[in-house]
């Protein structure tokens, strides 16, 4: 082993060059792990207003990120972050999180609202929010077990035109009362 100072510097210099030259481009795992500081390890969120990405559909993540990137979907921080990724990188992250198990949350929820939501979801939401909200048709997001405060913030953004509802959703949501909608959110938060 080279022990002189000059030797160390030389060895370190070669090392720096070689690792940089050999390094593979960021993998799906490398890209996605960086998100976990806010969205939880493997995308399982412990923060009540931050969505879990674990088990979310790839299409829903890609759709959300592309809309954040273009500014079509309003955000606080996500738009600024989404602009840092190529479309291919966004797809890679979507794939990574979609392969993780849904993050089951334990929330204190009003059982009356949960029951009411359960009776409403079948007729109103289940064509797109499949499997009791565990999956989604096309780019429809999965909602099962998301934190209630997160779901409430999103619904409020829909109702105040800060987030654009897909047409099919708007048709279903319009006739429902705020109490109905709140019950639905309680229901989806309760699904494990």
């Amino acid at each position: 082993m080279i022990k002189t100072r000059k030797g160390w510097a030389l060895a370190a210099g070669i090392l720096a060059v070689s690792t940089t030259a050999l390094a593979a481009p960021p993998s799906a795992e490398m890209l996605s792990n960086a998100c976990a500081g806010c969205h939880g390890t493997n995308g399982g969120s412990a923060g009540l207003t931050m969505p879990s990405l674990a088990g979310q559909s790839k299409e829903a993540i890609v759709d959300a990120m592309k809309k954040y990137k273009s500014g079509e979907r309003k955000s606080t921080i996500m738009g600024r972050l989404a602009k840092g990724y190529s479309d291919a990188q966004i797809v890679a992250m979507g794939e990574f999180f979609s392969k993780k198990k849904i993050h089951a949350t334990n929330q204190t929820l009003d059982p009356v609202k949960v029951a009411k939501g359960a009776s409403l979801q079948e007729a109103n939401c289940s064509r797109c929010h499949l499997e009791e909200g565990r999956e989604g048709k096309d780019d429809t997001p999965a909602m099962a077990s998301q934190w209630l405060p997160y779901l409430q913030i999103q619904m409020n953004q829909y109702l105040t035109d800060q987030r654009k509802m897909p047409e099919k959703m708007a048709e279903k949501v319009k006739p429902l009362s705020k109490a109905d909608l709140d019950a639905l959110l309680h229901y989806y938060a309760s699904v494990k």
Partner: protein, 429 residues
């Protein structure tokens, strides 16, 4: 130092005697066990903060055949992020900022050693603690910051912080600064000094200014806070801080740029700008200039700037010693700021490449994130966010991405709470 810790443990509701005794027993057992296990591959991680916990966890997640020993003197970690909210009175205590290591260690099979590293031998690849020596194949150090006290005439590392707290390492110092503010008379002056960049948490001094001003406005409205900033301007989110201060605290905050404090006087509770102008305060929060934490000095990892540790941008391996990686505030990470989230992100990049190198596999280029919230008032926060990549061997921000909030935001204050919850959960489970 010992007294601080005892006081602190008392305040945290733990019996000091019991805790310290329990600590000593566990240290001996842990080192004995760690040392006796030979033949396998081992990574030693030094420092159980935002960087070290996450590096230890992800190395185990990525390759459970690698033994990981995490060395950290304290049994609990108190987060610097959000500690300004306690100082301002938005948090009743530090419990929501405090995490332990038990769950992390149990969930991932990490061996905890509660001890202080006294020496590192990069040739023999050993780390020395008070109870013995631990071999490593690779060493990850995440030591945070230390103070360049020698640049402040009259500053004594042992006594000055007790009179003029820095509160730049969360815990007893945070409690002390709050206590001093509570004891200050209405009409008193708070002096806050900002060191020259780079330092831990670039927006931190300005968030603290906001939180102290908020407290004064509500409880001591005749009081003022004088900010003496060694930098040519507010070092982070300047437009947003100015806007927030103008909106809420115009008559309370007296911000003075390019005012470098070079000396302090404990007896007068005063600081000297460029050694000449003496400014006294009833509460004086001196944030000293900083360098990489002590273990980085001990291990000879600090570069020619005599402050920070140069590292490879892909692996975070030290440019001075092979097989030693430096992450977090202590390292020079190009465009990535010295923040908790950066340390979290760097830890994962480092863990990925430590595991790759130990398995003779190709390394992976960095993709990093920083997100950092600052509270302006009880209900409004601002943020800065960035995505990072490597170009020509240096960490750069991805062009046309990241940046600061357009305005003060109530939603960002709500999201910031979840930021804290998630990042501390990542570190502790």
């Amino acid at each position: 130092m010992t007294l601080d810790r005892r006081d602190f443990l008392k305040l945290m509701g733990a019996g000091a005697g019991v805790s310290l005794a329990g600590c000593a027993t566990q240290q001996t057992a842990a080192v004995g066990e760690a040392m006796s296990k030979s033949g396998g591959r081992r990574v030693v991680v030094v420092g159980g903060g935002y960087g070290g916990t996450v590096a230890a966890k992800y190395i185990r997640m990525l390759d459970s055949s690698i033994e990981v020993v995490l060395i950290e003197p304290n049994k609990q970690f108190v987060s610097c992020p959000f500690s300004n909210l306690y100082i301002g009175g938005l948090l009743k205590d530090l419990s929501s900022l405090t995490i332990g290591y038990d769950k992390l260690a149990a969930n991932h099979g990490i061996k905890m050693v509660h001890d202080t590293v006294t020496a590192v031998d990069p040739v023999k690849k050993t780390v020395t603690v008070s109870t013995g020596t631990i071999d490593y194949d690779r060493l990850v150090v995440s030591p945070g910051v230390d103070f360049r006290a020698e640049e402040l005439e009259g500053y004594n590392l042992a006594t000055t912080p007790e009179i003029m707290p820095h509160a730049w390492k969360a815990g007893p110092q945070t409690l002390l600064l709050r206590k001093q503010l509570e004891a200050m008379p209405n009409g008193g002056t708070v002096v806050l000094t900002v060191p020259v960049s780079p330092f831990r948490c670039p927006p931190g001094p300005y968030e603290r200014t906001s939180m102290i001003a908020m407290y004064l406005k509500e409880h001591k409205p005749k009081s003022k806070i004088v900010v003496l900033d060694a930098n040519p301007d507010i070092a982070s989110k300047p437009g947003l801080f100015r806007k927030g201060w103008a909106k809420h605290y115009a008559s309370i905050i007296d911000y003075r740029k390019a005012q470098k404090v070079t000396a302090v006087n404990e007896k007068n509770r005063s600081v000297f700008v460029e050694g000449i102008e003496e400014i006294k305060g009833d509460v004086v929060n001196v944030i000293p200039p900083q360098r990489a934490g002590k273990i980085a000095q001990v291990a000879g990892l600090i570069g020619p700037d005599k402050a920070w540790c140069p590292v490879d941008a892909t692996t975070f391996e030290s440019k001075l010693h092979k097989n030693i990686h430096v992450i977090g505030d202590a390292c020079i990470a190009g465009a990535m700021p010295k923040s908790g989230y950066s340390a979290n992100s760097e830890a994962k990049v480092c863990a990925t490449n430590v595991v790759a190198m130990m398995n003779g596999k190709e390394t992976t280029e960095l993709s990093g994130i920083n997100t950092c919230f600052s509270y302006i008032s009880a209900k409004e926060a601002i943020s800065v966010a960035g995505v990072y990549t490597v170009k020509g061997g240096a960490i750069i921000a991805v062009p046309n991405s990241g940046g600061v909030s357009p305005d003060l935001s109530e939603l960002e204050a709500i999201y910031a709470e979840s930021w804290l919850k998630n990042i501390l959960t990542e570190m502790s489970t």
